[in-house]
Point group: C2
Chain length 147, copies 2
DNA sequence: ATATATCCTCACTATTCCAGTCGACATGAT
DNA sequence: ATCATGTCGACTGGAATAGTGAGGATATAT
């Protein structure tokens, strides 16, 4: 699978922090993020602490503590988060010319192109743009009314 | 991981059959494909029989039997094989608008773009073009001589 | 100061998926 | 008839994924 569940959660968590970024209402609690984005809270703990390691978020301990985004959402590409949580799309050994057999080498150009194509998308979308889109469509009713 | 080992094997197997396609030397034995492409023979058995189910290859039983490509390599896109072996890049439930929560819906456009980007590459490369490339570079010495 | 709310750490489990194997059987060429 | 092949279904070991548990550390409120 291209995107793991964990990565989906990570992106939704960052997205949630991005939504609140301009509200200046202090750090957001794990519990709140978990609720807003329907993420198992204990699992979210693991994820956020990993995102902190990666320098994407910061935290405040104690009462009224929580997490916050380090960079403004417009300067945070989704690709950065995805790559950090998931690792590279194409594993390095698939790309290494030296260790590849002749047969494998035929495919390397293909994998390179695939990776570039994916990166092109990943790096053209920021959490800022996602928030913008969200703001625009937040009140648009779902088309699929119950019958 | 985007491409499983099994899928790599499948592509190399098909590629091997593509190489021999114009030689008209009858079906190729599992053992030969396995040897040429360094694939565990028993595993290759599983893979080829799956590819047969998918209509990509045909087989001949008995002595002097083996496998052969059903379509000419130029008319076989790598995407067809990859999608058949691996299933869709983005799982359908990630894309379904009806079942997605509001939060998930923000990301759907992103996943759609990623999928399209990948498909664009997958569907622009045929096994015929891979064989061509192979024929061109088959005798180019490896740059990395042993020291 | 104390209580409490929060993050922090790290180990642990359950489940699923992947890669690969095994044994017995079916079929076709010679 | 024999032997070389493909066919079939079950099976296993290991890795990765998703998620949980228990207790510790620290900041804020009172």
């Amino acid at each position: 699978m291209l995107i793991t569940q964990k990565c989906h959660y990570a992106m939704r968590a960052v997205f949630e922090l991005a939504l609140q970024y301009n509200q200046k209402s202090g750090p957001i609690k794990i519990a709140d993020i978990a609720k807003a984005q329907s993420i198992p809270p204990r699992f979210l703990e693991v994820i956020l602490s990993q995102l902190k390691q990666g320098g994407f978020v910061g935290s405040q301990r104690g009462s009224e503590g929580g997490y916050y985004l380090v960079r403004p959402p417009e300067k945070l590409m989704v690709g950065e988060v995805i790559r950090f949580i998931q690792g590279p799309v194409i594993p390095p050994e698939t790309k290494k010319k030296e260790t590849a057999s002749k047969e494998e080498r035929v495919f390397q150009e293909l994998w390179r192109r695939v990776e570039d194509a994916i990166s092109g998308v990943y790096d053209s979308v920021t959490f800022g743009s996602l928030v913008e889109r969200w703001e625009k469509t937040r009140d648009v009713p779902v088309l699929h009314y119950s019958i």
